[in-house]
Amino acid sequence: MNIEIDIEDSLPVFAQLIEQIKSAVLNNQLKAGDPLPSIRQLANDLEVNNKTVAKAFKFLERDGVIETKGYRGTYIHPDAKINSGIDINALIHTRLQAVVKELKAVGATDSELRIAFKNIVNDN
């Protein structure tokens, strides 16, 4: 299957890659265990920097859509279809919104929340 990017699109190239690979998994164009091209091959074919493709692969791996098996290459994750349906950004937004609402209800200020959030992110 083919992937197409538009370098003049407002959406960054790495995000276009993530979106299209997830969409291909959801549409059964890519199935669990299917091999993916190497970062170098994909970057050269799309005439983009290796780091751009590496960034997309890193996010896809974090989201459980792909898995890297050392020198054997990169493959579609066994749970890719379920994981592709999960929108991490939406999940973060919903969870944080609930926590912020709860803390504001007990009197926490915006600056206290920002400082606490920054410290927690830095500690982890």
């Binding site: 299957m1 083919n2 992937i3 197409e4 990017i5 538009d6 370098i7 003049e8 699109d9 690979i21 291909a24 890519l30 091999p35 993916l36 091209p37 190497s38 170098r40 091959q41 994909l42 050269n44 074919d45 799309l46 005439e47 983009v48 290459g73």
Partner: protein, 282 residues
């Protein structure tokens, strides 16, 4: 001398094949493209005006013409020398002439490389596509052919070690032969890797045409590797069995075979009728 008589028709074949036959095929292909795919309909195919390519083609044809005349002059000189001395013709003659013959082809390759670079720079398309299928060497060349190349290389290594009595002196012939063959194969491996995973040289080329081009290049290199190993084994055998008089004919046949397997195969694989030129339209 009998062995010298064999050399003449073989050398004429070398002149014809490399300086007349293949250059004429290349020229007719370029003319076919210029006539059937004009710049106003296929602008992406042209980095310069058509006249620019016509002039370059004329230079290419002229240099090959000069090479053909030079070849005949060499042949006449060798025949004259042979009639006077009846000595052994040097195997360096077909090899040195082959290098001269390959100069216009090498310049053509360089010209194509520069034109494709210009084509990439002129490409203003914002949309780019790629396949999500990994490319593997075995998609382009059979395992049996790869195994044959490896086996032939091993045969060469073992043979050369026996011929030179395992004399691993750093400046000896054994080491020199082993190093040159290994370096050549590593060079081929580098070109194969570049073909497989490197940047698309033609930004507009259709995927199926790219596949055909890469397949022709890789298969050609693997076959040349096999032929080179076997050729050097045969050369060493000829030297050992006192058949040195056949060396010039053998050298000429080797370079001709190499050209047929690389240039000939590539021309056949990249058939113009099946090439997708629509990708170069406006």
């Amino acid at each position: 001398m009998y062995s010298n008589l064999i050399f003449y028709p073989i050398f004429i074949a070398q002149i014809w094949l490399i300086s007349i036959y293949y250059p004429s095929i290349i020229s007719s292909r370029v003319k076919h493209v210029l006539q059937n795919y004009p710049a106003d309909e296929y602008p992406k195919l042209y980095t310069h005006t058509p006249d620019y390519f016509v002039k370059r083609l004329a230079i290419f044809q002229f240099v090959n013409g000069v090479n053909s005349v030079l070849g005949l002059a060499i042949l006449l000189a060798v025949a004259y020398w042979d009639s006077q001395t009846e000595g052994k013709i040097s195997e360096a003659i077909p090899m040195a002439y082959y290098i001269i013959q390959m100069l216009p082809i090498a310049l053509l390759e360089l010209f194509t490389f520069k034109e494709l670079k210009l084509m990439r720079e002129q490409n203003d398309a914002s949309k780019r596509s790629a396949t999500l299928t990994p490319r593997k060497l075995t998609d382009y060349v059979s395992v049996s052919l790869l195994a044959s190349a490896f086996i032939c290389y091993l045969i060469f290594v073992v043979f050369v070690m026996f011929v030179y009595n395992f004399d691993f002196a750093i400046d000896g012939k054994l080491v020199m032969n082993l190093v040159s063959m290994t370096v050549m194969n590593l060079f081929f491996a580098g070109i194969i890797y570049w073909n497989l995973y490197g940047r698309k040289s033609d930004p507009h080329q259709a995927a199926e045409d790219r596949y055909k081009q890469v397949k022709a290049a890789i298969t050609g290199l693997v076959i040349v590797s096999i032929v080179s190993s076997l050729f050097l084994v045969a050369m060493l055998a000829i030297q050992n069995y006192d058949l040195r008089l056949l060396l010039p004919s053998f050298s000429s046949l080797f370079v001709q075979l190499g050209v047929i397997l690389t240039i000939g195969r590539a021309i056949k694989a990249m058939d113009l009728k099946s090439t997708n030129f629509d990708v170069y339209r406006k």
